[in-house]
Amino acid sequence: MIDDIRVGALIAGSSIKRGNKKTLVFIVFVLSLIFMNLVFLPSMIGGMTVLFTGFMRDYPYGDIVIEPTGDNTYINNADNVLKKVRAVEGVRAATKRLDVGASIEHKQNVVGATITGVIPTEEYDISQYPYIIKEGDFLGDLSRDEIIIGSIISGTSTTFGEIYDDLGETRTGSLVDVTYSNGVKRTYKVKGIMEGNFELVDLNAMVHYKEIEDVYGLDSGKATSVVVRIDEQGTEDEMKDKIREAGVNEKIFTWADKSETLIRQAMQSLGAIDTMSKFVGLIVGAALILIIIYINILNRKKEIGILKAVGITPRSIVLSYAFLSMFYVSIGIFAGLILYLSLMLYFQANPVVFYETMEIRPQIDVMLLIESIATMLTLSVIAGTLPAWSVSKESILKAIWGR
């Protein structure tokens, strides 16, 4: 077997060294494109995912979010939960929120919105809300008759303006009437307008936590969610376990758990396209390698016969073709990687921009790269070996003299 490998390598080596260089360049070029095709689109999708997951952390869910169990609308002892959570090592900050449904009215314009009751001072450590006030100011501890509205609702969103109903040029200082889902009406002064260029944010409004408690007549300590930020990103799952161990019996999700369904839906169509293009790419790649090797083998059928006639084992011959196609593919992958990385560099510097402000930078997924490389190498061995195998089985006389 070792002799077979040595001889196979010798045959492949000489055929590479003294074979047609133009063909080699062409083969490598095409293979590098196939590789690119396998990894590029997923990288872009990865970039979009990162963008979306960033939103998930920064606004609705934090790193970890705790929600009521079962059919409960509220976490009943949110303060207790908060106390337990804050005591867990690795937790950086935590706060409670109350999400409710409401309609907002301003000069005969009515829009539906989720209004989130927040504890303003705590949000600075939890979310980006306080930092995306594009007009006016964020809520303060004493803000009881004030509201923050998203830019889409206010009608000042430059990105989503056309798509949604709005209140018609509401400004800081405007008065809006809010009717809560339980029928209670309140009038608020717009304290600020927030814009995150993210529908979940810009379609929302925000008042003081106490205000919601008051409107709904809740006992203190009720919350629809407890939002947690941790010290170290990437340890969400461990932290989730730790929080549970700390005695929190509510439902605990990481941002990834939460966004999964959302992202999955958003990405599903893209993912399907990606899978399709991957599949087609692989088939085309395999077919190409197969054809290249097959033509090569047909051209060298006589040589294969000669090699066998002088006593070279069929196994060495098949191995030589496996080596040959592995070589083609390795060089192709190498060239493809260079191409890919330069494209990545380019897009890091010049991200694709969506909605004018959402910058998508493609993500390099090492696992995906390894997977693609392994797939292509495996395919190359199969595609290179199969035709060689069938020819090497032919009788010597037929291979050399054609009969």
């Binding site: 001889v7 045959i11 000489s14 006639a309 006593g311 060495s316």
Partner: protein, 228 residues
């Protein structure tokens, strides 16, 4: 050294059967340089391919040094081809992407020798055919005669029991043919190499010891050549 008994090789079947060899018997002893002659289509190539284990006889017996090689399984025949039998093709049959040396030493490597040792063996063989200084040329950079000498080097590098050559000079001009035949003669005279060569050319006879003549698949004469 080799014994052939009532060897038959038929092509096709029924009415279309071609009896390329129709019962051939002879013996060749160590150190002989034998020419096989006869009109075109009389079965010379057919015989040689069977002797070199490239083809199977329809019937009959073939032994090398008493071993019945005609009934060996393919893997062993392959090993025999590699180690015991040299074959020189009419059209050289070199691997075009390999240098002269590589064409020769690939066989030693197949036998399990180290690369260095294989290279040494190859250079020795190339030296015997007078091509040591052209060992790193590829076939395209060699003349027809030189290519055929590389092919001979490949056949003799393993020091085979017996070497077969099917019209080795058919594609060569007289000068190149003479060079090749001189190499054969030298191998036969100085190294005792047993050689069986198919040829058409009457003037080749002066290089050989013995001439076997065929006609329509049967042996019609077997004569020793007088030393001149």
């Amino acid at each position: 050294m080799i014994t052939v008994k009532d060897l038959k090789r038929y092509y096709g079947s029924g009415d279309m059967t071609v009896k390329a060899l129709n019962g051939v018997s002879f013996e060749i002893n160590k150190g002989e340089f034998v020419a096989i002659m006869g009109a075109s289509g009389c079965g010379k190539t057919t015989l040689l391919r069977i002797l070199a284990l490239l083809d199977d006889a329809t019937d009959g017996e073939y032994t090398i040094r008493g071993l019945k090689v005609s009934s060996l399984p393919e893997a062993e025949r392959s090993y025999y081809r590699l180690t015991q039998v040299g074959y020189v093709f009419q059209d050289y049959a070199l691997i075009n992407e390999m240098t002269a040396a590589e064409n020769v030493y690939i066989l030693s490597m197949m036998e399990g020798k180290s690369k260095k040792e294989s290279y040494k063996v190859a250079l020795e063989a190339l030296d015997k055919v007078g091509l040591k200084d052209k060992h790193d040329r590829i076939p395209d950079e060699l003349s027809g005669g030189e290519k055929q000498r590389v092919a001979i080097a490949r056949a003799i590098a393993k020091k085979p029991d017996i070497m077969f050559a099917d019209e080795p000079c058919a594609n060569l001009d007289t000068r190149n043919s003479e060079q090749v035949l001189e190499v054969f003669k030298d191998l036969n005279d100085n190294y005792g190499q047993t050689i069986v060569m198919v040829t058409h050319e009457p003037w080749h006879v002066k290089y050989v010891d013995r001439v076997i003549t065929f006609q329509d698949g049967v042996l019609v004469s077997d004569e020793w050549v007088e030393e001149q």
